[in-house]
Symmetry: C2
Subunit: 495 residues, 2 copies
C-alpha cells in the first residue's frame, strides 16, 4: 500500500507559494457549499507514521478553512477510562453533523494497530477489530458520512532521519520521547500491521489516500488538493434497493405471524400475590445492582411495545428497586433536528452507560425497524440493513461488558382498546391518549409484521428478546422483573 | 434467531394437498422466467439442525421444478483433500450461471460451524471465517447472484424426538450414526455457534430465512412459498455509485503518477552476462520447484504490462526452468459468454492450483481495474470495489498456502513504439500486432492512471507488486527470475 509513498516526492517552495492562495480560496468556498447543502458530513482521519507531519497537516487544514465549522479531536491508544465504555463510543461523541467537517487526529485505527504492534492483540483479534471498523464505516457511509482517510507515510530511512533531525534541534527535541524511539525500532512491525489495516479497510466507498510525508510542501499541497477534490465531488450515499426486497421475505400468509399470536395472554396474578412477588424480585434486583461484579458491567434495558402496553408503569417498578444514582431512564420520541443530522444510532450511543451504571430505554433504536419502517420514515433498504447494524451494535456493547435485556410488552388489540377507552374517561389519564394513538392502532397488522421480523432477526444469544404477555399488568411486571434478574445472573455466572 | 421456529408450526394434510399443485405450477413458471431473463443466478443454501428435513426439502424442490436447470451439490466438513485448495474454491466450482438455480445442501457455513462446535476453531478464528463469508456473499450479490439462505431449525426436544423416531424405524435407522448422536449431545453448542453465524451474516442483501423443521408439510410449503416469492420479486443487484467517486481520489496533477515514471529504464545487460545469469537463476528456480516445502504450497505468478512489454517471452524463461507437469500457463483474453454469466473472479478461481503446483497468468483478474476500467466495460463502482475484493481474494489464497507473485513489466511509450514498428516489419512477428494495439496505445495516460491506482491499492504485504523496468528485455527477464526466486524463498523461510 505504500509503494508510491517512498519515492521521495518534493514540491519546491516557489510552486508551493504560488499554489496555496488559490487552493485556500477554493477550500473555503467548498466548505461553505457543504455547510449550505448540509446533505452530508465529512470526517477526515489523520493516521500514519510518527514524524510524517500529521500534526502539521491538521494545523494547516484548520488554517486554510474556517475552523468554526471544523471539529478537531485527537485520539491515542485507549486508556483505562476509555475501556469503561465500548471502543467506538468516544468516536460517536465527536461525529460532526451534516454540513460540518470533523478532523480526527488519530482515529479508530490507532489503538488496534498499536495493540497489534505491541503484541497485546492476536492476529485473529486484530482482524476482528478491523472487521468491526469496516462495518462501522459502511454504516456511516450509508448514513451520509463521507470518510476521507489520510495515511501519512515515511520510509524507514526517512523516519529515522526525521527522528534525528527533531531530536537534535532544541526547539523540537521535546517531541521525541522514548515512545517515539520505541516506535522506530518496531517500524517494520508497524508497517506490517498498517498494511493489513489499510488493505482490509479500503472500501470502494471509503478508500485510503496514502501521502508521502517527508516534504512539507508536498504533503500539505497533496492533502489540500485531495480534500478539495472530495469536497467538490462527493455526494451523500444513496443506498441501493436490496436485490431481495422485503416483500420477497414473506409468504404473505398469516401463519408467518406467530411470535405474538402464540403467546398465552390469559395469565394473571392476584393483587396479593403480586405484592409479595414484587417485594421479592425488587429486593433481588436491588442486590444485583450492588453486586461487586457489576462494577465491571453496565446494564441496558430496552422496552418496546404497542401503545398502552404498560412500558412506563413497568419501568417504574424497576427503578423503584434502585438507588437514583445508579440508573437513568431515557424516553425516546421522534428525533429532533440535531439528531436527524446524524446517523440514526448516534442519539442512543450518547446514553450508553459506563461500567457500574444502568440505562433504561423507553423505546429505542428499534424505532428504525418499527415506526420508521411502518410509517415510511426511512427507505426499505435502510431498515433492511438496520437489522445487521443493530446486531453489530449490540454485540459491540456486549463485548464491552454491557448486559442488554430487551422486552417486548405484548398486548392484544382488545386489551389496547379497553385501555384507550379507560384513558379517555379517566381525567388524570387523558394526557396519555392522542389522535395519533388511534391512527397507530389502525396499522396494527403492519406493526405485527414488523415485530415478527424484528424478533426473527435481532433476537440473538448476545441480546435475546423477551416477549411478555401484558394484558394483565401485574403478571407482566413480575415476569419482567424475574426475567431481568435471571438474565443478569446468567451473564454474571458466565463471567 | 430461532425464537419463532420453536413454536410448533403445522399444516394439515388437506391444506397441503390443496395448495401444492398451484405452488408447483407457479414455481415452474418463475423458474422459466428466470431462465429467459438470465439477469441473475439464484443460489439456495440449505443449512440447519440434523433431522430438520434438509435432505427432504432438497428433493422436494427438485421435484417441484425442472431439475435440468438446477444444479444440486452437497457439502460437508472439509476433508484433507479440500484443504489442498483455498476454502471457498469448491463453492466457486459449482456456482450456477445467470438464469440458473444452484442448490447447496450444506454450504460455506457447514465447516466453520462444525469446526467451532468441535473446538477446532477459536472464537476469533470463527469470527474471521464468518467475516470472509460476509465479504464473499456481498461480492456475489454485487455480481448478480441472489442468495436464498434457508435454515431449518428444530428445538432440542424436537431434535431428540426426531432422532429417536428415525433410529427406531428399520427403514430409516441407517441415517442415524454416531455422528448424529454426537451432534445431539452438543445441541446447545451448535445452536450457540449457529446463532452467531446467522447474526453476523444476515445482510440486508442476503438475509436468512429460518424455517421450523418438525412438520413436513409446513416445512415444504414454507420453503416453496419463500422461494417463489424470491424468484418473483428479486432483481439483479445494481451497485450504487460510490459517494466518493474516482474523480475525487485524484488531484488531477502529474505528480500523482509516479510509480511508473520513477523507474530507471536505462538498465541493461549484455548478452554474455545475461546467458550466465539466466542459467544461474533458472537453476535456482528449478530447485525451488522441487523443494519439499513446496508440496504444502502452490505458486501463482501474475504477469501484467502494456502491449509488447515482453510478457510472453518472459514467461517462457520461467517455464523453461520447470518440469512440464509442474506448471500451467493461463493466457487471459476477453471473457467469453459463459464467463460473462458469472462473477468476474470465477474464471480465475477455476485455475487456482492445488498444493504442489504452479500457475502462471498471462494477464489476470487485474483486467477488472485495467482494461475494464479504461474501456468502460464495467461501472466505476464495479472497479472501485474490485480493489478490496481482489485483496480479499489474494489474502484467501495466501492463507491457503498459495505464494502469489505479481509482475508489472514496465516499458516506456518510446520503446513500445519501436517494438510495434519492429513487429510490423518482421514477418514472423506480424501476427502479434493488431489495430487494437494501436488504439490501446492512444489510451496510454488512462492506463498509466489505472496502473498507479492498482499498485497503490493492491500492492500489499500479502501479495506485493513488482514493477520491473523492461525496456531492456534481458535485464527484465533476469530481474523477474531473481525476484521470483527471492520471493518464494522469503515466504518459505517465514513458514
Amino acid at each position: 500500500m505504500f509503494a508510491s509513498a517512498e519515492i521521495g516526492h518534493r514540491i519546491d517552495r516557489a510552486t508551493y507559494k504560488a499554489e496555496v492562495p488559490a487552493l485556500r480560496a477554493a477550500l473555503l468556498e467548498a466548505q461553505y457549499a457543504l455547510l449550505k447543502s448540509a446533505d452530508r458530513a465529512i470526517v477526515i482521519l489523520i493516521n500514519g507514521v510518527d514524524g510524517a507531519g500529521r500534526s502539521e497537516t491538521v494545523n494547516t487544514l484548520n488554517a486554510w478553512m474556517d475552523p468554526r465549522h471544523i471539529r478537531t479531536e485527537a485520539f491515542d491508544a485507549m486508556t483505562d477510562e476509555d475501556r469503561r465504555r465500548p471502543e467506538l463510543w468516544r468516536f460517536w461523541q465527536v461525529l460532526p453533523p451534516k454540513g460540518h467537517i470533523g478532523i480526527l487526529f488519530g482515529s479508530w485505527y490507532t489503538d488496534p494497530i498499536l495493540a497489534r504492534v505491541e503484541g497485546r492483540d492476536s492476529r485473529d483479534h486484530f482482524a476482528h477489530r478491523l472487521e468491526r471498523i469496516r462495518q462501522f464505516e459502511r454504516m456511516l457511509t450509508a448514513e451520509g458520512v463521507v470518510l476521507v482517510k489520510f495515511w501519512f507515510h515515511l520510509s524507514y530511512r526517512a523516519a529515522k532521519a526525521r527522528l534525528k533531525a527533531l531530536s537534535s534541534d532544541p526547539r523540537t527535541a521535546w517531541r521525541i520521547g522514548p515512545r517515539e524511539k520505541a516506535h522506530l525500532k518496531r517500524y517494520d512491525d508497524f508497517i506490517e500491521a498498517s498494511d493489513e489495516a489499510l488493505r482490509k479497510t479500503s472500501l470502494g466507498e471509503a478508500p485510503w489516500i496514502v501521502i508521502e510525508g517527508s516534504d512539507e510542501a508536498y504533503r500539505n499541497l497533496t492533502a489540500g488538493r485531495h480534500l478539495l477534490s472530495v469536497l467538490r465531488h462527493s455526494k451523500a450515499s444513496v443506498p441501493p434497493p436490496s436485490p431481495v426486497p422485503a416483500s420477497a421475505l414473506h409468504t404473505g400468509l398469516a401463519d408467518d405471524l406467530t411470535v405474538l399470536r402464540a403467546l398465552d395472554y390469559s395469565r394473571q396474578l392476584s393483587r396479593e400475590r403480586y405484592d409479595r412477588l414484587l417485594e421479592r424480585w425488587q429486593g433481588r434486583l436491588n442486590l444485583l445492582s450492588r453486586d461487586p461484579r457489576m462494577r465491571q458491567r453496565a446494564l441496558v434495558v430496552v422496552f418496546e411495545g404497542m401503545d398502552a402496553a404498560g412500558k412506563g408503569s413497568t419501568i417504574r417498578r424497576l427503578t423503584g428497586a434502585w438507588d437514583a444514582r445508579y440508573y437513568r431512564v431515557v424516553p425516546v420520541a421522534a428525533p429532533n433536528e440535531n439528531e436527524r443530522a446524524q446517523p440514526y444510532l448516534w442519539r442512543f450511543w450518547r446514553y450508553i452507560p459506563p461500567h457500574g451504571r444502568a440505562v433504561i430505554f423507553d423505546r429505542s433504536w428499534y424505532g428504525r425497524v418499527l415506526v420508521e419502517r411502518v410509517e415510511g420514515f426511512c427507505t426499505e433498504s435502510d431498515w433492511m440493513r438496520a437489522y445487521g447494524e443493530i446486531n453489530a451494535y449490540e454485540e459491540e456493547l456486549a463485548e464491552a461488558g454491557v448486559i442488554i435485556v430487551k422486552f417486548w410488552l405484548a398486548i392484544t388489540p382488545e386489551e389496547q382498546l379497553r385501555r384507550f377507552r379507560e384513558r379517555e374517561t379517566t381525567p388524570h389519564k387523558q394526557f396519555k391518549i392522542t389522535p395519533e394513538d388511534w391512527r397507530n392502532r389502525e396499522k396494527w397488522p403492519a406493526y405485527e409484521r414488523a415485530v415478527q421480523d424484528m424478533v426473527d432477526r435481532t433476537s440473538t444469544r448476545v441480546a435475546p428478546w423477551h416477549i411478555v404477555a401484558s394484558d394483565d399488568k401485574l403478571w407482566s411486571r413480575i415476569e419482567v422483573l424475574r426475567t431481568l434478574c435471571r438474565r443478569i445472573e446468567q451473564v454474571l455466572r458466565r463471567g
